[in-house]
Structure formats: structure tokens, C-alpha cells
């Protein structure tokens, strides 16, 4: 009787250990985890050089179906990012007759309830026709595609 009970306990413990070991690799994320619903409230965190405002303008122009808010506590999602501009040097101005900047930017959007990163995008534009405006509009366009993809 005691032996049977011991065997039972060992089996239960090993099953529990196995299941806990398998959990991280076997987790199949629900698609709703990375979904950005239309009309969700998005807060854009301040980004160096006022790039957050360029992003707001780009989302307005590209008609991204999100409501932008200025208060993080009222938001469902938070956008954060980094950006870098490289101005044309004298050699580029003389030999390529171009004063256009090179732009790169990267953004990510986090679901504030679950903490999941639901969207990320990088853009690099050489000879950007309209500087930061071009890179921010690329971000907005791809975000719109992501929202409308479902």
C-alpha cells in the first residue's frame, strides 16, 4: 500500500516537473496578444529631437486608425523609439550635389496591459527627401498596414 502511494507521489511530481520544464518552449501565444485594435488609444513617449511629434503628424497624415493621447494613464499602447539624422557633409554637397540627410529610426509599440511588444519597425533612408518627415511616415504606413492586416 505504502509502495503504491510512493510510486503515485513520484509519478505526480515527475509529471509536474516535466510540464513546468516544457512550459516556456511550448507556449503558443494567442494571436490577440500582438493585435492592435482599430481605434485603440496610443501614447507616444517623448523621443529625442521631437520625433514623437513627427510620428503624430505622420499618423494623422496617413490616417492610421488609432486615437493618440497625451496621457500615458489613458492609453492602451505606448510607442517609444529612437532616431538619428546624418547631415550632408561638404563632399556630398560638392560631388553629389545633394544636401539631403540620411535618416534612420526605430520604433516599438507595447501593450500596456500585457507588457507585450506588439509592433516593431526600423527604417533607414539615404538621401531622405523630407528628412524626419519621410522616416516617420514610413513608420506610420507600416503601422497602418499592421492594424488593417486583420
Amino acid at each position: 500500500m505504502l509502495r503504491k502511494a510512493l510510486v503515485g507521489i513520484v509519478m505526480v511530481l515527475s509529471a509536474a516537473a516535466l510540464s513546468s520544464a516544457q512550459t516556456p518552449s511550448n507556449v503558443v501565444r494567442d494571436e490577440s496578444d500582438t493585435h492592435i485594435p482599430s481605434a485603440a488609444r496610443l501614447y507616444i513617449a517623448p523621443i529625442e529631437g521631437g520625433y514623437d511629434i513627427y510620428l503624430a503628424a505622420a499618423m494623422h497624415k496617413k490616417e492610421v486608425p488609432l486615437t493618440l493621447v497625451t496621457d500615458k494613464s489613458k492609453a492602451d499602447f505606448e510607442l517609444s523609439g529612437v532616431t538619428e539624422s546624418e547631415k550632408a557633409g561638404w563632399a556630398k554637397t560638392i560631388f553629389l550635389a545633394s544636401t539631403a540627410t540620411n535618416e534612420q529610426a526605430s520604433i516599438k509599440i507595447v501593450n500596456l496591459k500585457t507588457g507585450t511588444i506588439v509592433f516593431g519597425y526600423n527604417v533607414n533612408k539615404s538621401n531622405s527627401a523630407r528628412g524626419k518627415q519621410s522616416s516617420s511616415e514610413a513608420c506610420a504606413k507600416h503601422l497602418k498596414e499592421k492594424i488593417e492586416a486583420r
Binding site: G50, I53, K61, I94, A97, R130, G131
Partner: protein
């Protein structure tokens, strides 16, 4: 009598649900609203105030955030012409970029945002500020 009461209750319920659906719509920029223009790098807010006045944008600019319905924030950047541009391209004009956003202070929603990039800007920051003002005016005319 009972049937009439039920009908009235149902119609009142329907009207209430329609009203709540309409009130949840996006906040829009409205003519005559009081706007506070926050400080911006390089004093771009001063250029914006002048541009809003010049382009006769139907908004009232106030000095205090407490008295405002809307708040305008923005950023601007100027790239002056270097020696190479002056000598080889024969241009002394600067490249300008600016961006603004207008938020409703009650709802916290961004109701309008715009960015502009001008190469060889004829009047420097004045040109970008006036472009912002023209587009705000266009937006206000849409909502009339």
C-alpha cells in the same frame, strides 16, 4: 397601457444608446477654440503665433495653459547653408523642418498634427510656420 409604457421605454433606451455611440467619436479641432502654444526649441512658438495671426487662423491664442482648450507643442530644426552649398550650389538658403501637434486638454487626445520639410526655405522658419498655420486653417474649415 402597459404596451405603450414598454414601447416608450424601448424607444428611450434606443435613443440613449445612439447618443452614447455618437459621443464616443473622435475629438475634432473647432474654430474659436482657445489655444496655448507651448515653448519650442529655437523660439519656433513665436514664429507660429505670427503665422497664425498672418494667415487669420480662427483660433484664440492665450498665454496661460489654464485658460486654454487646446495645447500646441512642436519642434523645429534649421540647417544653415554651409560653405560648399554657398560656393558650388550658389544657395544661401537654409533647409527647414518643423512639426506641431495640437492636443485637447480635456480629453487628452491629439486632434491635429502636421510636419513640414522645406529645402532652400525662402524665408527660413517663417515659411515652415506659415505652412503649419495654413494647414491648421484648412483643418478648421473642414470641421465648419
Amino acid at each position: 397601457m402597459l404596451r405603450k409604457a414598454v414601447l416608450v421605454a424601448v424607444s428611450v433606451g434606443l435613443m440613449a444608446s445612439t447618443g452614447s455611440a455618437q459621443s464616443s467619436g473622435k475629438t475634432v479641432l473647432k474654430p474659436g477654440a482657445k489655444v496655448f502654444i507651448n515653448t519650442m526649441p529655437d523660439g519656433f512658438e513665436t514664429f507660429l503665433k505670427s503665422a497664425l495671426s498672418k494667415k487669420k487662423v480662427p483660433l484664440t491664442i492665450v498665454d496661460s495653459r489654464e485658460n486654454a482648450d487646446l495645447e500646441m507643442t512642436g519642434a523645429s530644426e534649421t540647417q544653415k547653408a554651409g560653405a560648399a552649398k554657398k560656393i558650388f550650389m550658389g544657395s544661401w538658403q537654409s533647409d527647414e523642418q518643423a512639426t506641431i501637434s495640437i492636443a485637447d486638454l480635456k480629453s487628452g487626445e491629439i486632434v491635429f498634427a502636421y510636419s513640414v520639410n522645406k529645402r532652400n526655405s525662402v524665408h527660413g522658419k517663417q515659411s515652415t510656420a506659415e505652412a503649419c498655420a495654413v494647414h491648421i486653417k484648412d483643418e478648421l474649415e473642414k470641421t465648419k
